[in-house]
Structures are given as structure tokens and as C-alpha cells.
Symmetry: C2
Subunit: 346 residues, 2 copies
């Protein structure tokens, strides 16, 4: 592999001159720069990025930390890939590359984050799956590493974030089902301390109480956020005494919908006929029968907003994106389907 | 932050021994390695990766290059995330991290690969979506970068690869449908020059001819490998004159199945009743009615095999994986469902 030393020797130039030419510094004359670039190309010169990273902190890479593992992405992903597509659209304008930093569910996210930072191969980070208290936020802030969180947290380092409108989903879901005569409304919540679980339950409780309905902890269904989790919730509902069961349900995870629908069919609680369902939209949900009443947003636009808000915090790009510190809840659109029929009158 | 120096002092070992223990070198006894790993864990040791990279060309990172974009992953991914899970299982044994290198479909994969190599942040690469002729293979081989391909190619650099058994899917699919009386059998193929398309069509043609059936190019259906593509193929089939239409179909992409099923329902070609379907298994396909006859493999096991075959080519890890240059077609299991009924007798 040809390094800068070989290149300088061949050209009979100093390493400093070659380096300045390769890095587009203004103090190299154009003819020399041209000679250097041509020789670099001909000799197959590969810049030693690790060295550049140590000196300048500029890797040209943005890392997106996501959790993987059998329970999280083991049944596929219908969220991140579309968000990535939007992020890449923005990064491509600046010749920046996106890499997905895959933190296994068997690993501590905080330790993983520290290792990512120590490896030093990204200029900035996007973190997701934020916890109620999230040490990654304090850690990144203390290291002065530009980052944005996809998801809120009680840990506040004055950092930028974007989040889906979980309040809106819980509030609209309850309002809609109550207006259709439902009195026992179930809701999904994650098993762990992901922040969105707290937001969902708080809003759900308030929305019920505002309408004179009693909050019943038995109507919160915790499961893994995947098809199997959706399927299991349907069976858990069927196992409840008929008078205790919910008659309608709010799902906020798009991976669970198909399993939930099929579980409901299996136990005879036909969606849209005997059981009301509102969920998140996904490409797969478009094929469901009956048509799903769902919350929709453009994941690509979410990715674009995320990348622009991140670049707004990076000195080299902030001038292009004078957005300040973005902290924004992204609204969802309710798309009416046939899955949330009125409650049966007793 | 605890560095290797502090760790060595605390353990009263030389920096070299600690380094070899941390890096999984074979010349450290197991008891010492265990002591070092425990102390590293207890003391919060963080390797200075940028420094390591400069000295040894070892970043501790394995890159998995995958293509993203609206037509490829725009509707989600039910493949790579499960493969990643298996890869991470192996890498975790050696304190290696997996990053996904996301090449946008709007970008030239060869140029992207060169940039990845120039950035120098991975010790080794896994490439996927191999083309009939794939310049990435020659490029990586010429740079002496350890890599493995998920997918075959006519470009042969003596490199290791794993691939799914597309021959088996085409051959078994044709044999099964012919034995059930089908004479016009459709097959999916990708729109671009992905190698698997050539393998599929060649095997499909041979399997038909061996059974005295004529190969008809109109029965090859090219589409984007996603739900929409599956849906569109169903409608394209319905638009053909009834005597020209296929009566059965072989799909080899798991993302397309749901859209294909629903498209068939829409045009009145009920799967398993009026139209025979064989496809790839996915978590989503388990919920289909009627039950899908499908080709199954463990994606996690595929990821494990991929990572072990890659490490077998890396000097620092080869001793753990004496596998040589792995070149292997991974067989699929046929799971019988109810979606491929016998052909109607005229």
C-alpha cells in the first residue's frame, strides 16, 4: 500500500507539501497539486485515515448507533433502513458516509458507546432507543462529540433531539376509541426502560382520566417489540375473562402489527369486527385486511430532519443549517382504516 | 480512562503480554488471558483504537457493506439484521465490533468501496449483493484487505464466499410444481446484474428442459425485491391471457412474499387455491394464510458461518478458525405448506 512517504519520495517533495496538496490547503501551487494528485492516483495512494483522524478529528463518517439482537431486530427492521435513507440523502451533499454502529442487545449500550468513541472513527453520532436516564448523552456531551438523539430522555445535556409524537398517538388513540364507545382500551408498552414507554403510559393515563375512565394497569401489555410480541399480546387478551378484556387496542410499534392481527384472528377476535386496533403504519401493514387505522409519518423525512439537525451542531457544516439546537416532536398523521370499529353495545 | 499502561502496572505484567492477551493472540496462557480480561473489565479499560490502528493496522472493526435505498431497503429489511446478529455472536468472542457500511443505491458500489478502504476504519470487510462481475472483489484482493463475499460472482480472486443455494431453490421449486402438474411456472429475477439472477435463471431453464418443458422468457418476472415488487408481479400475471399465464410461481426473495400474496388475492388468483406459490421463509411469512410452502435457513447461523470464515482469513484469528478459504453454498430446507396446490386439470 502506497503511503505519503513513498509518494513524497517519488515526487521529490517534502511530506508536508504532499500532505498540504492532498488536503487541498491553499499554500500549494496548482501545478504541484496537480502533480501530487496524479501521482497519488497512479501509485494507488491510500490516505491513512487513522492518522488523519488523530490529527484533525475528521473522519468523514457519521455513526448511527442502533441496537440489534434476536428480540429487537431478529425479525427484521422496517424502521431504521428508511430513516438511514433520509440521513444519507443529506450526508451525500457533504461527501459524508453513514455507518450503522450495531450494538448487540447482549451488550451494555454505555460500554459500547465508550468503545465507539475510543475507536474514534466517526465525527458525530446519532443515538437511538434512548432510555429514561441515558448515560450515553452525558458521556457524549462531556467529550464534546457532536450528536443527536432519536428519542427523548430525562438526561438533558442541552443536546438536540427528535422524537416521534408518542403523546399524540396515545391521546388520539384513546380519544378515537372512546368516541367509538370503547371503555376498556389496551396499550402496548416496552419491557425495558426505554423512554417512550413512560411517555406512552403517562399520556394514556391522562387521556383516560380526562374522559372519566379508570386507569387499569392490567390493560398495559408489555412485550418484545416484534411480530411474536404482537401475537403474544393477542393471546394474552383472549386469556382474560371477557369482562376484563380490552375491546380496543393502541399499538405504537410497526413491527408488531402483523403478529397482532394474526393472533387476533387465531383467537376469534377478528380485527375490525370483534376487536378494535389502531397501530403504526408500515409497508407491510398496507396489505392487511381489514385496512389498518394507523399513525403514519415519512421515515425518510425523519432521517433528513435528523441529519440536518446533527450537521447544525457541527462547526464545519453549521453555516449550511442555521437551525440552532433542534428539539422537536415529529407529528404523525392518522390514516383512517376499517380496523377500529365501534364497541359492541351490550 | 484506563489505558493499557495502567492495566499492565496493576497486573504486574508487561504491556506486550497484556496487549497479546487483549488481542486474542495464541501465545498467552488461558489463565493470564482471563486475569487480563477481568481486570480490563473491572478497571474500565478502553483501547486507544486510533493509536492501535496507526501502529498495527488493526481497528477492531469489521465492516459489513450493504446497499440501502428506497427500492432495496425502503420497505424494511428482514434479512441483514438477522445475519448481523450471527456475525456479532462470533465477533464478540474477540472484542471486535461490527459496523454496517451503508452504500446508498444512488452511489456506485465500486467508488464507495474505495472510499471505505481509504478511510481505513475496518480491519476486514464483508460484502454482499455481489454482481455477475464485481470489481470490489479484485479491488479488495489487490489491497490485501481480508474480506468475504456473501454471494458468488464470476470475479474470482481466490477469496472466500458463502451463498444461498439459489440452484436448489430453482431446481426444487420446478421439480415440486411439475410433479403437481404445473406446466407454466413463473420465476422472479432481479432487475440488475446481481449474480443470483443468473444462477436462478440458468438452473430454472435446465430444470424445465430436463422435464421436457419449454423455457419461456415471458415467465421470468423482473421486479424490485420488495413488497411492491411482489404485488406488481401478481398484477402482471393477471394481465396475461389465461392460456399464457403461469399457474405456479417460485419467489426467492422473502421481502416480496406478502405483497405477492395480497396481489394474488386482489386479482382473484387465491394462493393455494387458484395459484401455486413457493417462496422464501421470513418471520412475516409465518402469519400468511394459507401457510406458505417455503425455503428456510437460519440467518443467524449464516451470520456465524460468515464471520468464522472471515476470521479464518485474518492472521490474528486464523488459529481459532482453521477453515482455509471457505467457499460454500448454504442449503435451504423446504417447509411444506398449503400454498402450492396441484394444477387444475383442464
Amino acid at each position: 500500500m502506497t503511503g505519503i512517504r513513498e509518494l513524497a519520495q517519488r515526487l521529490n517533495l517534502s511530506i508536508g507539501t504532499v500532505s498540504r496538496a492532498l488536503n487541498g490547503k491553499p499554500d500549494v501551487n496548482e501545478q504541484t497539486r496537480q502533480r501530487v494528485l496524479e501521482a497519488a492516483d497512479a501509485m494507488g495512494y491510500v490516505p491513512n485515515q487513522a492518522g488523519r483522524s488523530l490529527r484533525k478529528g475528521a473522519t468523514g463518517v457519521i455513526g448511527f448507533m442502533m441496537q440489534t439482537g434476536a428480540q429487537i431486530t431478529g425479525e427484521g427492521d422496517v424502521f431504521f433502513m428508511s430513516v438511514f435513507d433520509g440521513v444519507q440523502t443529506v450526508l451525500a451533499r457533504h461527501q459524508l458516509d453513514l455507518v450503522a454502529l450495531l450494538c448487540s442487545s447482549e451488550e451494555d449500550p454505555d460500554a459500547y458507546m465508550q468503545r465507539v468513541v475510543a475507536r474514534g472513527f466517526a465525527d458525530a453520532l446519532i443515538i437511538s432507543a434512548t432510555k429514561r436516564e441515558d448515560h450515553r448523552i452525558d458521556y457524549l456531551a462531556s467529550r464534546n462529540i457532536p450528536f443527536i438523539a432519536l428519542g427523548r430522555s430525562q438526561t438533558d445535556a442541552g443536546h438536540p433531539w427528535l422524537d416521534l409524537d408518542f403523546e399524540g398517538m396515545a391521546e388520539t388513540g384513546v380519544a378515537r376509541l372512546v368516541s367509538k364507545g370503547h371503555r376498556r382500551i389496551g396499550i402496548f408498552a416496552p419491557l425495558d426502560d426505554t423512554n417512550l414507554g413512560y411517555v406512552l403510559i403517562e399520556t394514556y393515563r391522562k387521556a383516560l382520566e380526562q374522559r372519566g375512565l379508570t386507569f387499569d394497569p392490567d390493560l398495559i401489555f408489555r412485550a418484545h417489540p416484534n411480530e411474536r410480541g404482537g401475537h403474544d399480546i393477542a393471546h394474552a387478551i383472549a386469556a382474560m375473562p371477557a369482562t376484563k378484556r380490552p375491546t380496543g387496542f393502541i399499538l405504537t410499534n410497526e413491527l408488531m402489527t402483523l403478529g397482532f392481527y394474526n393472533g387476533l384472528y387465531e383467537v376469534g377476535l377478528t380485527p375490525g369486527e370483534k376487536f378494535a386496533v389502531i397501530s403504526r403504519d408500515s409497508p407491510q401493514s398496507h396489505f392487511l385486511v381489514p385496512k389498518l387505522t394507523s399513525f403514519r409519518l415519512s421515515l425518510r423525512d425523519l432521517g433528513i430532519a435528523l441529519a440536518e439537525a446533527l450537521l447544525a451542531t457541527m462547526p464545519a457544516y453549521a453555516a449550511h443549517y442555521p437551525l440552532g439546537v433542534v428539539r422537536k416532536i415529529v407529528p404523525m398523521e392518522l390514516v383512517e382504516g376499517d380496523s377500529d370499529m365501534p364497541a359492541a353495545t351490550d
